[in-house]
């Protein structure tokens, strides 16, 4: 047992409102710079949709993540060796068009336009070239199912559905959407780290945050290809790659990351998970159908005496162990099993988990076009889910629809159980059936409801305190590159990976 501590997260998708406040907070703090305009370390996508950069999930195109290779895994597209051979030609790397060309408006025209018959208007100009551009893409182009024929219909996760099943998803009676906020997953098996020929990317020992050392980065851009989530970006101005740093300066001072702190929908949770680093390879190479279970197995019980002992042996502070015991992530992911990793089949073992959305029940439309959405009981069962299970399973369980159903049944059971407590107008049988179907009980349902609906800021973000002794140690020889972010340390720290 080799116990490490990892800052992990849960995003409760049912609560996400697609407001993008998180994206703005991140942008204003970290990427409001030349060369970084197009970067959105935090972005929010409308699903179904192709996302940002467009079709990032399609590894046929981008070759990100890991392939299972017997009992181990190998990088799909950008191994150090393969990468080096393709230094000058990397066909799998997203280009600016796959993201979008950032723009502004020529506001000066409003003031300098000569007298004329018409009001002046400011036209868009590229932030890269300064020329007029025809805006054709943006970081959130398919917002709220915008351009659904061109974007939503091309969602990679539809692969498992027949064309007619796909088409029905865009009709009144079944159409739906939800939001998927994304940041770097600070993976346990980060493809970005593995792909870097310069060894510039590393995973911090004390909390598992994945960082790019701006001094060592040599612009190979292998991480851009390797990260299957497309969360490493190349800054064309500085010639270095950059990525989400989980606001570590904030975390170190006890504050939640900017995106989480500002989250208006209160969907975000952050906490410590203890895991067994000896099992990373085994988990990453598990058969597809076992991937989720294998990943969940790597996180160990912070109340277990043996775990605590092993953690201490590895230099994990008591305060961090206490934080792990209070972690909301532990509850959602392990205790209740209702938060799932995004695309576990990429095999990077991501540390950001999602509670799936509930969405309205499916309706029907008759021959005269009359729409009917009544349900027999107050809530439709999950068979009436607008999104097919295969779709959700493609996102969160590597295709395991049964597991997906179970999670949704549990969420439904919470509603029914709380209805029973607060109103009491459901039959005892309906309540009992729902709890059984969700493999839960009234007490657990109550706890889930409380952390979902009533959690305070302190309960949502349980941040292990930084230790003064560690910060002194870290400050030694730390390079500070002005205008850049992601600075790290040159000397190997005493603890960690």
């Amino acid at each position: 047992m080799n116990i490490r501590s990892q800052i992990s997260m849960v995003f409760h998708l049912d609560k996400c409102i697609g407001c993008h406040t998180c994206s703005i907070a991140c942008k204003n703090v970290w990427t409001d710079r030349k060369g970084a305009e197009y970067m959105w370390w935090n972005n929010v996508e409308t699903k179904p949709g192709t996302g940002y950069p467009t079709k990032w999930e399609d590894q046929e195109i981008y070759k990100g993540g890991w392939d299972k290779n017997g009992d181990t895994v190998s990088l799909r597209g950008a191994g150090k060796l393969r990468g080096l051979k393709n230094i000058f030609h990397n066909p799998n790397m997203p280009v600016l068009e796959d993201y979008y060309e950032p723009w502004t408006y020529k506001y000066s025209d409003l003031f300098t336009a000569p007298e004329g018959n018409d009001q002046p208007t400011a036209r868009p100009v590229s932030l890269v070239t300064g020329e007029h551009i025809d805006v054709k893409a943006g970081p959130n182009w398919d917002d709220d199912l915008g351009g659904s024929p061109d974007y939503a219909r091309k969602d990679v996760n539809f692969k498992a559905l027949t064309p007619s099943e796909q088409e029905s998803l865009f009709q009144l009676e079944q159409m739906t959407m939800f939001y998927l906020p994304r940041i770097c997953n600070h993976c346990l098996n980060p493809a970005c780290v593995a792909s870097c020929p310069s060894g510039a990317i590393y995973k911090r020992g004390e909390d598992g945050i994945v960082l790019i050392n701006q001094e060592r980065c040599r612009a190979w851009r292998m991480c851009v290809t390797a990260c299957p989530y497309k969360k490493s970006y190349y800054n064309w101005n500085t010639g270095k790659s950059e990525k989400c740093i989980l606001c570590y300066p904030r975390l170190e001072s006890g504050q939640a990351p900017a995106c989480m702190h500002s989250c208006v929908g209160r969907i975000r949770y952050l906490g410590v998970m203890l895991y067994d680093a000896d099992r990373i390879e085994q988990v990453a190479s598990a058969p597809e159908r076992d991937l989720v279970d294998a990943q969940l197995g790597i996180y160990v019980d912070p109340f277990d005496e043996n775990v605590i002992k092993a953690a201490k042996a590895n230099g994990i502070a008591d305060s961090t162990i206490r934080a792990a015991q209070l972690s909301p992530v532990w509850k959602f992911v392990k205790q209740w099993g209702i938060a799932l990793p995004l695309h576990p089949e990429f095999r990077t073992i991501p540390n950001l988990f999602y509670v799936p959305p509930m969405l309205p029940a499916m309706a029907s439309v008759d021959a005269d076009g009359v729409y009917d959405s009544h349900t027999e009981s107050l809530w439709a069962g999950i068979e009436k889910s607008r999104l097919p299970m295969q779709y959700l399973a493609s996102l969160f369980t590597a295709g395991d629809t049964e597991r997906m159903k179970l999670v949704l049944k549990k969420l439904l059971a919470v509603k029914i159980s709380r209805r029973n407590t607060t109103v009491g107008d459901l039959s005892a049988k309906e309540v009992a059936d729902a709890l059984e179907g969700g493999r839960t009980n009234a007490k657990e349902a109550d706890a889930i409801f409380r952390l979902t609906s009533l959690a305070t800021f302190e309960e949502r973000f349980v941040i292990p305190p930084a230790h003064r002794e560690e910060s002194i140690e870290m400050l030694e020889d730390t390079g500070d590159v002005k205008g850049n972010t992601g600075f790290g340390f040159k000397l190997k720290p005493a603890r960690g990976l």
Partner: protein, 994 residues
């Protein structure tokens, strides 16, 4: 229905609801900080339903999505109420519901049935003074009648408006007591079991244009004139209206599947496209939840309901379902509409300071849609409202008058204000009156009335195109009055500014108007000066002569409040205003200073001014006009403040404006403060303020509390409001105790020590006090929900009957056929006048264009920042359905023109399966400042924005006055500038030029 406008629950109360319907509100988009309460409630076992024609952002949080056709929501609710009445009031009589409607609604009041040929029609409420028992009561026109269930005797229950304004106080409450002798009674809700006769009464279904006759049980009353009149309870008439038979004769529907009979579940299917079973099940779930939780079912409504021409009827139809299931005035229940008219929480002190009433000033407060409708000449393009307003065929001819004639009648009768006032300077009128011997104020008033009668003096609104009547100077403050709120934007460009515009509509009103003067040539460019006070370069700023840059939120000390929560927000100057910007308070102060200086030359001595003031709500004005009578037609004598507006004579000393601006006037100490009919003394607090010697101003040797600094003004508001001063709060309740005869001061007891000032607000959020000026109780951490004060403490609503109104018996409502809740279909595009001249050459399609509030916008503000534009499509696109787009050969992101007679907007298409066919959406609001190409359909001229294709339409029934809750109150009562019924043509743009 409530005599109140924006009283709603704070968003925290959504969480307390067990059945939430979001209708025409897009919480995810426009209530971003609050919607978490909605989804959190859902995890707590509350059912969530979203009614919206498109799959909107909030729809994702719904358990059930009901995409009723745009504008048809009212039909759905009519059917829901039909089911509720049938199953929960008739088949079984749900005790909670029955008790609630008896006590808190007007259901038991008696209405006279008027004979109409072989049948009857519901008429006016029976007045106390009409019967022998009560013929001598005071305010007998404003006290109404019920029957006692036990004895059958007539009762004039306490709490009606007559009791509110009686000299003898203490009878304005909702106790089941007879007003004249305190006798206890039990209201008789229905005459079904004890009636003299069942009469056939007419009920008009505007959906099918069908007049049904249905049996209603009546009793006969003998009036003081010896007339024997049939009366029915409002409850029984409501049953007739909704087609719930109860075994009575007449055209009652056979069952829920009767498509031809209003208002069955099958009937609504025709208008909404929503299946009958959905409506039936919805009604059962709603009522079942309301019964189990005692009314914790709510509807959240937004502009997407409010801004339809028949928005008032949609509201009423939903409120009916709530009233009949006891959901109003309950935490977690009610009709919670959040539409622009923000709640200025400390209204009691703020209202006085903002209007200068502390110095005895009489302000001129205007109702905006009326003002723009007339002054920007939009009325000239409007045909007769009767052509699109579904007016009953046999209605009083008044109901067939043009909206502009209604405005004129409304202004003359004192229902709505209008400025400019007269076709002669107010100062000249007063001067001439004096010349002719007028000495007292009354003399001047008489003089004005005389001149009006003889037509030597006329209202500006009677002839708006006479240059003497033009408004000349326009200060735009913080609104984007020329774009985001400028319904009829192109008309404003034309008639206000005289600049290039794209309206091509014909001026047709000449054929229809009879009273307002229609001149052949319409004036262009009425305004001499447009000044914009703004922190953005928006469309209004672009068109203004002068832009005064103002501080934004975190550059100034200011207060902000909303109906979404019960806190007052201190803005705070985190950084000083950038460049030359000043705070709004300082900008107005410098203008005041300059004017005062100039006045020394131009108006060195005080002059007399005359101000017309509309009959106002929450004052005895609201019981002045029991009948709709027009003095200009000789139907009554013109008596200011009674049959016409008030005429206030006031001396103005323009040299003193600045001094008054920077000081808090003694009026506060002398008259006290208050709002919504609540008043309290505050001389002692005024004195306390004078003792803060660092914060006084000395004018002519006399000390006043200072308002010079922004923080001083904020503190004055806070010190003098019941919401932030516990001592004054107690006085508010004491006053109301006297008025109602109820014990109320316990509500203020625990709060007496509260004193919140600006610094306190900056230190940490403070919830404000439960106050008598508002209707929600917040003691002990309770979430604010409107009318909990009424329901828990039996304080009347500020309505005619003191109860919530199902029935509206104003003559205007009866003539327009809106005395009962009903459904009127949206005006047809053919008669609405959007597309008369615009020709479809086959390359375009006509769509209903909706302009709801957009993502990341507060109207147009912030949506145009680079960040937000980057996260959207760089502009405000036109959202359209896949089918409509495909038929027009339009692909996503293609350029399109959206146009009609009023103007044109050029933008890109956003093609989406979440938009239904026949509808397109341009979110409110684009700006002319970025990415507006030239229109091809207008010959290469620059296109406009989302208000380029709208025009104001005014619904006459919303401008009546002097009658109970139908009395003017600034920013409360008046017509909506309806814009949801707009139709446009959409076509692909062949050529894009800038």
């Amino acid at each position: 229905m409530w005599g109140e406008q924006t009283d709603v629950c704070e968003s925290a109360d959504w969480y307390n609801s067990k059945f939430i319907v979001s209708m025409g509100a897009n919480l995810g988009m426009t209530r971003t900080p609050d919607i978490h309460f909605f989804s959190e409630a859902r995890h707590n076992g509350s059912k969530t339903v979203v009614m919206s024609p498109d799959f909107s952002m909030v729809a994702k949080h719904a358990d059930q999505w009901i995409p009723a056709h745009a504008g048809s929501d009212g039909a759905f609710w009519m059917a829901v109420t039909h089911v509720i009445l049938k199953e929960w009031h008739v088949d079984k009589q749900t005790p909670y519901f029955m008790d609630y409607v008896k006590r808190y609604t007007d259901s038991p009041f008696l209405v006279r049935l008027d004979k109409k040929g072989d049948h009857f029609a519901p008429g006016r409420l029976m007045r106390a003074k009409e019967v022998n028992e009560y013929k001598n009561v005071t305010n007998g026109d404003w006290k109404f009648l019920m029957a006692d269930a036990a004895t059958g005797a007539l009762i004039t229950p306490k709490g009606t408006m007559g009791y509110r304004w009686d000299e003898q106080q203490g009878n304005w409450n909702l106790k089941f007591e007879n007003g004249t002798d305190n006798r206890a009674y039990d209201p008789e809700l229905t005459f079904l079991n004890k009636h003299d006769e069942v009469l056939q009464v007419e009920f008009l279904d505007y959906g099918h244009q069908h007049l049904a006759k249905r049996g209603v049980p009546v009793r006969y009353i003998t009036t003081v004139d010896g007339e024997r009149v049939p009366v029915a309870t409002i409850y029984d008439i409501t049953m007739g209206q909704y087609g719930v038979g109860r075994g009575l004769a007449g055209e009652y529907p056979a069952d829920y599947n009767d498509k031809n009979a209003s208002y069955t579940p099958a009937w609504q299917e025709i208008f909404t496209g929503i299946g009958r079973n959905t409506a039936i099940k919805f009604a059962r779930e709603w009522a079942g939840t309301a019964e189990a939780t005692k009314g914790r079912c709510m509807v959240i409504v937004g502009a997407a309901i409010n801004h339809w021409f028949h928005g008032n009827l949609m509201y009423r139809s939903a409120i009916m379902a709530q009233m009949l299931t006891g959901c109003n005035g309950r935490n977690g229940g009610g009709m919670n509409h959040y539409v622009g008219q923000e709640k200025l929480a400390p209204v009691d002190s703020w209202g006085t300071i903002m209007s200068g009433k502390d110095h005895g000033t009489v302000p001129r407060l205007q109702q905006a849609p009326i003002w723009h409708y007339i002054n920007s000449s939009q009325w000239r393009y409007d045909n007769n409202q009767a052509d699109y307003n579904s007016v009953p065929n046999d209605a009083n001819p008044l109901a067939r008058k043009h909206s502009a004639d209604w405005v004129l009648m409304s202004v003359r009768n004192g229902w709505m204000p209008f400025f400019p006032q007269y076709n002669k300077s107010n100062l000249d009128i007063a001067r001439d009156a004096r010349k002719e011997g007028a000495q007292t104020e009354a003399d001047i008033r008489d003089y004005v009335v005389r001149k009006l009668k003889s037509k030597e003096l006329d209202y500006s609104v009677a002839d708006p195109d006479d240059p003497i009547n033009f408004p000349r100077n326009w200060f735009i403050w913080r609104g984007n009055a020329l774009m985001s709120s400028a319904k009829g934007h192109e008309y404003m460009l034309n008639h206000y500014l005289g600049t290039h515009h794209n309206d091509i509509a014909n001026e047709v009103a000449g054929e229809y108007v009879t009273d307002i003067k229609y001149r052949e040539k319409s004036p262009s460019g009425k305004m001499d000066l447009v000044v914009d006070i703004n922190f953005r370069m928006d469309t209004s700023a672009l068109y203004s002569d002068i832009v005064l840059p103002t501080a934004s939120w975190y550059e100034k000390a200011d207060l902000n409040s909303t109906d979404m929560h019960s806190f007052i927000h201190p803005l705070s100057e985190a950084v000083p205003p950038v460049w030359e910007a000043k705070t709004d308070w300082q900008i107005f102060q410098s203008i005041a200073k300059k004017v005062s200086e100039m006045a020394k030359t131009h108006f060195p001595a005080p002059v007399t001014d005359i101000v017309n003031v509309a009959l106002s709500h929450d004052s005895a004005d609201e019981i002045t006009q029991p009948r709709l009578l027009d003095w200009t037609k000789g139907e009554c004598e013109p008596i200011p403040g009674k049959t016409m507006h008030k005429i206030v004579v006031i001396d103005r000393d323009y040299t003193q404006i600045h001094n008054k601006f920077i000081t808090l006037g003694e009026g506060v100490a002398k008259q006290g403060l208050g709002a919504h009919g609540v008043k309290y003394e505050c001389a002692d607090v005024y004195q306390e303020m004078l003792e803060k010697k660092n914060h006084v101003q000395v004018v002519d040797g006399k000390e006043y509390p200072s308002l010079r600094e922004d923080v001083e003004a904020c503190d004055a508001v806070l010190k003098l409001s019941t919401l932030t001063n516990g001592k004054l709060n107690m006085r508010g309740y004491q006053m109301l105790e006297k008025k109602t005869g109820l014990a109320l001061t316990d509500l203020a007891e625990g709060l007496q020590a509260v004193r919140i000032d600006y610094k306190d607000l900056q230190t940490r959020p403070h919830r404000y006090n439960t106050s008598a000026v508002w209707s929600g109780l917040m003691n002990d951490g309770r979430a604010y929900a409107a009318y909990t004060f009424q329901v828990d403490r039996l304080v009347p609503w500020r309505t005619l009957t003191g109860r919530q109104h199902i029935y509206m018996d104003h003559d205007g409502y009866i003539m327009f056929g809106e005395h009962l809740p009903t459904y009127k279909p949206s005006p047809l595009p053919q008669v609405y006048g959007d597309i008369r001249k615009t020709v479809n050459d086959g390359k375009a399609r006509m769509l209903n264009c909706l302009t709801p509030h957009g993502k990341w916008h507060i109207h147009s503000t912030y949506g145009d920042t680079l960040r937000m534009l980057t996260l959207s499509r760089g502009m405000e696109p036109c959202w359209m359905s896949e089918k409509d787009a495909a038929d027009l050969g339009i692909k996503d992101n293609d350029w399109v023109e959206v146009y009609n007679d009023h103007g044109v907007y050029c933008t890109r298409a956003c093609v989406s399966s979440r938009i239904p066919r026949g509808v397109c959406i341009v979110y409110h609001s684009p700006e002319r400042t970025y990415t507006v190409p030239k229109s091809q359909v207008r010959g290469g001229r620059r296109a406009g924005g989302h208000n380029s294709f709208t025009r104001v339409h005014l619904k006459p029934s919303l401008m009546v006055g002097g009658y109970g809750q139908f009395s003017f109150h600034f920013n409360y009562w008046g017509p909506v500038g309806a814009n949801r019924d707009t139709h446009v043509l959409v076509r692909k743009m062949e050529k894009v030029e800038f």
